[in-house]
Amino acid sequence: MKTVFALTLALLAMVPAARADDEKPYKVENGKVDQATFNGYRRYGNSCLQCHGPDGAGSSYAPNLTESLKHLSHEQFAETVINGRQNISSSQQNVMPSFGHVEDVVTYLDDIYGYLKARSDGALGRGRPERIGR
């Protein structure tokens, strides 16, 4: 188990460099995704899904992020996630927590963005994506 984990980390470390000149923040081939996008899917599941719903599709109380990413820039996305946002009134009780101090989110923020962007662009369908080369 330990080796698998170390290997995953090593792969992760390599990915950003490999993707540096790509325009898209994700890679999807025949419905399969690269390791970074897959990791984004997974980190999303750990930290965001309980509010934004499975596959980024929104819930009864938090926005559909596949829609949001059609108008939010990468910077605006990162700013919202790092600092959070509150929208409280007598009829709304919406809180987007700040993740600035959360290792598992900050470290993989670009992966999460890439995954959601792939969903938003329609490049990736719903459910758990398969990884390229598996």
Partner: protein
């Protein structure tokens, strides 16, 4: 003079033992009122009222409604004490006292001031399962873990105490329970690596009487190594921490967000604990005791009499918090069990135990789809896990497929109803399976500590996501089963009129026949129902009441953007069409027969 009377009273209370609360003991037997969330101390959700019967229930009509002004998921249900009904809402946790003499008129309303950041650490919507009543007080457990006692007449605060710390992910969703001179309350936060506990506060002044953790040292969990029993044996020293690696027990979970039951004769309280630490089992080897456990504790001291761990080393998030139904004189095989405990667990097994000593009598599947274990070994009490569905055996970073039930369980907290007349338990259930892939996460206080991705969908060959079933707890068999389009996420009510009521996620209040589940009545309320049904009388007439207001775990899958998506069966594959049926909004509806 006055002082002497007060002293005499105080003495009388001590003389009858700390557990006596004659007023509440009497009131919970009175079918005209509904004074605790599950109807009585035994959590029956049963009423002796019989004006509404299987013959006339078809004529039931809504008589009045009341909007709470809050949108998110409304769990729990109304209390009725005398001529006043008390209802509550999710965050901001309003409480309304409504006058039954002037239906819907607000006698008082209370809204606490809470730091909204707590909303960000509530795992599955901002639900609350209602306040408790006792001794002229309404006791509310707020989202931010503040427990506040209000004067039932005026809504004024009597005392207030803080039960946990939202900065660590500790929140509150459950209903408190009063037994004797104490109020008992648990804690939520199983998805944040908290360490669960139940705490008793003095009803009079809110002072802490005792606290017992689910995991930790013998002292913390209030176990007596020689006297606390499990499967007929003393648990021995360090029974919890020796089942964890290193000090992982410190983020060991075992949150306590379900329901309490109480046997006044045995002076024992009963409840269950939730999932251990992260959802990634590989990261926490061992049985992870005492997560996923039924506890029987002495109500006065908190010391555990017996425990039974249903799902050792959880690999699927099968929290053990569902209600404990205390059934008397139950026929189990050729044995008559004077004092039984029946529990329909998230893990898909219906358990019957002897509640005096924790002896396991029955453990059978209550949905044939359940596949993660073949059976429960009656000698050891351990489920026999099927390796194909073991997320531990399949390992980290592997997607284990087609596990039934899904993490939301064959049944979640939505409480069942026991009819002593029909000798059947009526159970709202989920019929959902999942893929589950564990991965490594690090712990950070107040942050999600989940470590698994899930997809949920109906079992192969099914297109219904729920069933409403009748269960025989003596034989461990399903008497009848009525399919529902969505999970049944509403607490049931059984009555002496031979009908059972429950709500559906689309928003129908339904009444079915106790003998065969035949639908006798249905009415569309304004939003999906995840609340619990109750009944009471006012001026001699029987009423039925329920809160609608979709949300909770079910609402996470209820986004407008999901419609029309057909690829895959992502988690909300399961709930994707719910938004075609209902939208948010908390409303109370009260029903009666026409005059």
């Amino acid at each position: 003079m006055l002082r002497r009377v007060a002293l005499a009273c105080a003495l009388a209370v001590t003389a009858t033992g700390a557990s006596a609360n004659p007023e509440l003991l009497r009131m919970q037997r009175d079918p005209n009122q509904w004074v605790m969330p599950n109807g009585n101390y035994a959590s029956w959700r049963y009423s002796e009222l019989n004006q509404i019967t299987r013959e006339n229930v078809g004529n039931l009509k809504p008589t009045w409604q009341f909007s709470t002004g809050v949108l998110r998921g409304h769990e729990g249900g109304p209390l009725v004490v005398g001529e006043v009904m008390y209802i509550h809402t999710p965050f901001p946790n309003r409480v309304f006292a409504l006058d039954l003499n002037n239906p819907g008129r607000v006698l008082w309303r209370y809204e606490p001031t809470q730091d909204p950041t707590v909303i960000g650490v509530m795992c599955c919507d901002t639900v609350n399962r209602g306040p408790a009543y006792a001794d002229g007080k309404i006791i509310l457990s707020q989202a931010d873990t503040t427990v506040v006692a209000l004067d039932a007449k005026t809504g004024k605060e009597v005392w207030k105490v803080k039960n946990g710390d939202p900065a660590k992910g500790e929140t509150a969703t459950m209903a408190p329970m009063v037994f004797g001179d104490k109020v008992l309350i648990g804690i939520s936060g199983g998805e944040y690596g908290i360490r669960g506990h139940v705490t008793a506060y003095n009803l009079a002044d809110g002072k802490q009487a005792w606290r017992a953790y689910s995991v930790g040292t013998d002292e913390d969990i209030k176990f007596d190594p020689q006297k606390t029993m499990s499967m007929g044996q003393p648990v021995g020293a360090n029974s919890s921490i020796k089942t964890w690696e290193g000090d992982q027990w410190k983020m060991g979970g075992g949150s306590t967000w379900g329901w309490f039951s109480y046997d006044p004769d045995l002076n024992l309280i009963y409840y269950g604990s939730g999932n251990p630490g992260t959802w990634n089992p590989v990261q926490r080897p061992g049985d992870n005791k005492w997560s996923m456990t039924i506890f029987a504790r002495d109500a006065t001291t908190g010391v555990a009499k017996w425990v039974y761990q249903m799902t050792p080393h959880d690999e699927w998030d099968y929290d053990g918090v569902n209600e404990m139904v205390l059934v008397d004189n139950l026929q189990v095989g050729n044995q008559r069990v004077a004092k039984a405990l029946v529990h329909m667990d998230r893990n898909g097994f219906g358990y019957t135990l002897n509640r005096e000593n924790g002896q396991l009598m029955v453990a059978q599947k209550f949905d044939p789809a359940v596949n993660w274990a073949t059976h429960v070994d009656m000698e050891t009490g351990r489920p026999q896990v099927v390796s194909q569905y073991s997320t531990r055996a399949q390992g980290e970073d592997n997607n284990t497929k087609n596990i039934c039930p899904a993490a939301l369980g064959t049944k979640d907290q939505q409480p069942s109803a026991w009819s002593p007349k029909a000798s059947l338990l009526f159970v709202p259930t989920n019929h959902v399976c999942m893929d589950y892939e564990p991965f490594r996460v690090s712990y950070s206080a107040g942050q999600p500590f989940i470590g698994a991705t899930l997809s949920m969908y109906p079992p192969q060959g099914s297109d219904n996501l729920g069933n409403f079933i009748a269960w025989n707890p003596g034989s461990g068999k399903i008497a009848w089963s009525k399919p529902e389009r969505f999970s049944v996420w509403s607490g049931a009510l059984a009555t002496a009129g031979d009908v059972v009521f429950y709500g559906t996620l689309e928003g129908y209040l339904k009444a079915v026949d106790t003998k065969d589940g035949k639908e006798l009545f249905s009415y569309r309320t304004p939003s999906g129902i995840i609340g619990n049904v109750n009944t009471f009388t006012h001026k001699g007439k029987q009423y039925v009441a329920v809160m609608s207001g979709v949300g909770g775990w079910a609402g996470i899958g209820m986004a407008a953007g999901l419609q029309g998506e057909s690829e895959g069966l992502g988690a909300v594959g399961a709930y994707k069409s719910l938004s075609d049926y209902t939208q948010l909004g908390g409303v109370l509806t009260v029903f009666a027969l026409p005059n």
